[in-house]
């Protein structure tokens, strides 16, 4: 009988402790594939574009669930679903930026099972790569998107290096804005990586979008108290309001005192392979009033240095407008 769900034959492990999962991950290495919610995974497998031999389902690991208060902020288990994030009182009260970003991911059903770790660790959505073509990112020697005929409407404006794919993560931009830290376990122990360093561009490693390597497990995300209860702005523009990935998104956290911006973090999504910090805008608005006038002055800084491809010039004014809205503080 044929397989109606078109899933390929493979093994499945369901460890219940991080130690067992780390053991499996390092033992299986490239042959294994870690699964959280699986919403990025099963498409790859059904299309035969990636062919791991064994799945390691992490959802049985209780210690990777739940949201905890720590001495400096909160720690969110890697397996916390996006729906749980949108409903969690602690996150909504102090880090509403993350709740807003999580609420704009995909569809309700995907948010119900999709995890925070999966959302930040998901692979590029460039359809040439996704189709299983042997492009740079897949280990080949060619980019199909960055050609005169390539359909690159959704692709990058900045920091391309052979590959022009963009980060597909909505929560990634919010986590970089909040100066989150990623807790990663492997056989050698635990390491903590700043969210900004967690995402890597093609100039550093064209085969990976994050620092995670075979054998690594992202076990938790920590958000420091630094930006708790700050003023936040999140907006995502996509072709469709549901399911779709961002064309451009913006996540901003600001400390505003008497209407004056004291400090800020502005991060744009879907304009390069990693969430893009807009440091020139951040320094330009420091000490300025948070109003339309300031927004009009600084918004164009955001797109300086952009190198659009054939079909994505529209992302430049789009990005500028989103930055304008984020700085003035309303849509």
């Amino acid at each position: 009988m044929s397989s109606h769900d078109v899933m390929p034959e493979m093994g499945l492990y369901q460890p219940v402790s991080v130690e067992d999962a780390v053991g499996l991950a390092s033992q299986l290495a490239e042959r294994g594939w870690l699964v959280g919610g699986g919403q990025d995974t099963y498409g790859w497998l059904k299309d035969r574009a990636k062919r791991p031999e064994v799945l390691v389902d992490l959802k049985g690991i209780e210690s990777m669930r739940g949201v905890r208060e720590t001495a400096d902020g909160i720690e969110i288990g890697a397996l916390v679903t996006l729906t749980e994030i949108t409903r969690n009182p602690l996150i909504n009260e102090r880090y509403a930026l993350l709740a807003q970003a999580a609420g704009r991911v995909a569809s309700p059903q995907i948010r119900n099972v999709g995890t925070l770790a999966g959302n930040v660790a998901q692979d590029a959505r460039c359809w040439y790569y996704r189709r299983g073509l042997n492009c740079y990112r897949a280990g080949g020697n060619l980019c199909y998107a960055d050609t005169p005929e390539g359909m690159n409407r959704e692709h990058a404006l900045f920091n391309t290096s052979r590959c022009v794919a963009v980060t597909p993560s909505d929560t990634g931009t919010a986590l970089v804005a909040l100066e989150a830290q990623m807790v990663i376990r492997n056989a050698a122990g635990e390491r903590v990586v700043d969210a900004e360093e967690f995402f890597v561009g093609p100039n550093l490693d064209i085969r990976h979008m994050t620092v995670l390597r075979a054998g690594d497990i992202l076990t938790a995300v920590r958000i420091p108290a630094k930006w708790a209860n700050a003023e936040f702005y999140f907006e995502k523009v996509a072709d469709r309001n549901v399911w779709d990935f961002a064309l451009v998104s913006i996540a901003a956290a600001m400390r505003v005192n008497n209407g004056v911006i004291e400090d800020s973090r502005l991060v744009a999504g879907a304009v390069q392979c990693t969430p893009r910090r807009l440091t020139s805008v951040e320094s330009a608005i420091r000490g300025k009033a948070r109003n339309q006038e300031t927004a009009d002055q600084v918004a164009s800084l955001a797109v300086q240095g952009a190198q659009p491809l054939n079909f994505n010039h529209f992302k430049m004014p789009l990005m500028e407008n989103l930055v304008n809205r984020a700085v003035r503080g309303h849509a």
Partner: protein, 195 residues
């Protein structure tokens, strides 16, 4: 024509016999090779529609496949099979999920509810089903079971949703006929907000 042999019954019969043949031959021969030691136990006991069902489930098998081709519950449809269209929506512990994008092994400890399990024992339809009929919600009907399950999940957590909340809750279910407003009318009626 034999009135008892409806199209639906005929298709179900074919499916059931296909499963019987497959479970004794191809599944085992195909899966015997290259299986790493320590993989999950295939023979599962899962709770579907309040019943305990024993079923042989391959490690990579999706819930949609198990429901449709092993348990004969064809209410969950395979539309896109990529977690986009929502026609395969079922509930796992009262949460709506895409059964095409869930491994059966992932939900083996959860209570699965499909559209077949909504009807009361005496045959009374679920309020959402009754309301969808009254509001003429479905057009072609292919997405309907998924729309029903998303609506049921919504009303379990939010018995009196606003129309905007209902729209959001059903946004993971596509309708090729574009009957969205009719489904929303159905949700509002099922929640007693439409007279």
């Amino acid at each position: 024509m034999n009135p008892k042999l409806t199209r639906r019954r005929f298709i179900k019969g074919v499916i059931a016999s296909g499963v019987a043949a497959a479970s004794t031959s191809l599944w085992y021969t195909a899966s015997g090779q290259n299986r790493p030691a320590g993989a999950v136990e295939r023979l599962l006991t899962i709770n579907v529609n309040g019943q305990t069902r024993r079923v042989d489930v391959a490690p990579q098998e999706t819930l949609a496949h198990t429901l449709r081709y092993k348990l004969g519950l064809t209410g969950a449809k395979l539309g896109c099979n990529r977690g986009e269209c929502g026609s395969c929506t079922v509930l796992a512990d009262d949460v709506n999920i895409y059964s095409c994008s869930t491994l059966t092994h992932e939900v083996k400890n959860k209570a699965i509810l499909t559209v077949e399990g909504l009807r009361a024992a005496d045959g009374t339809l679920h309020p959402v089903q009754a309301a969808f009929i009254q509001e003429l919600s479905p057009a072609c009907g292919f997405c309907t079971s998924g729309q029903i399950m998303s609506a049921v999940a919504l009303l379990k957590s939010n018995p009196r949703p606003t129309r905007a909340e209902a729209r959001q809750a059903l946004s993971g279910n596509l309708c090729r006929c574009g009957a969205y407003d009719h489904y929303l009318n159905g949700v509002m009626r099922a929640s007693g907000q439409l007279s």
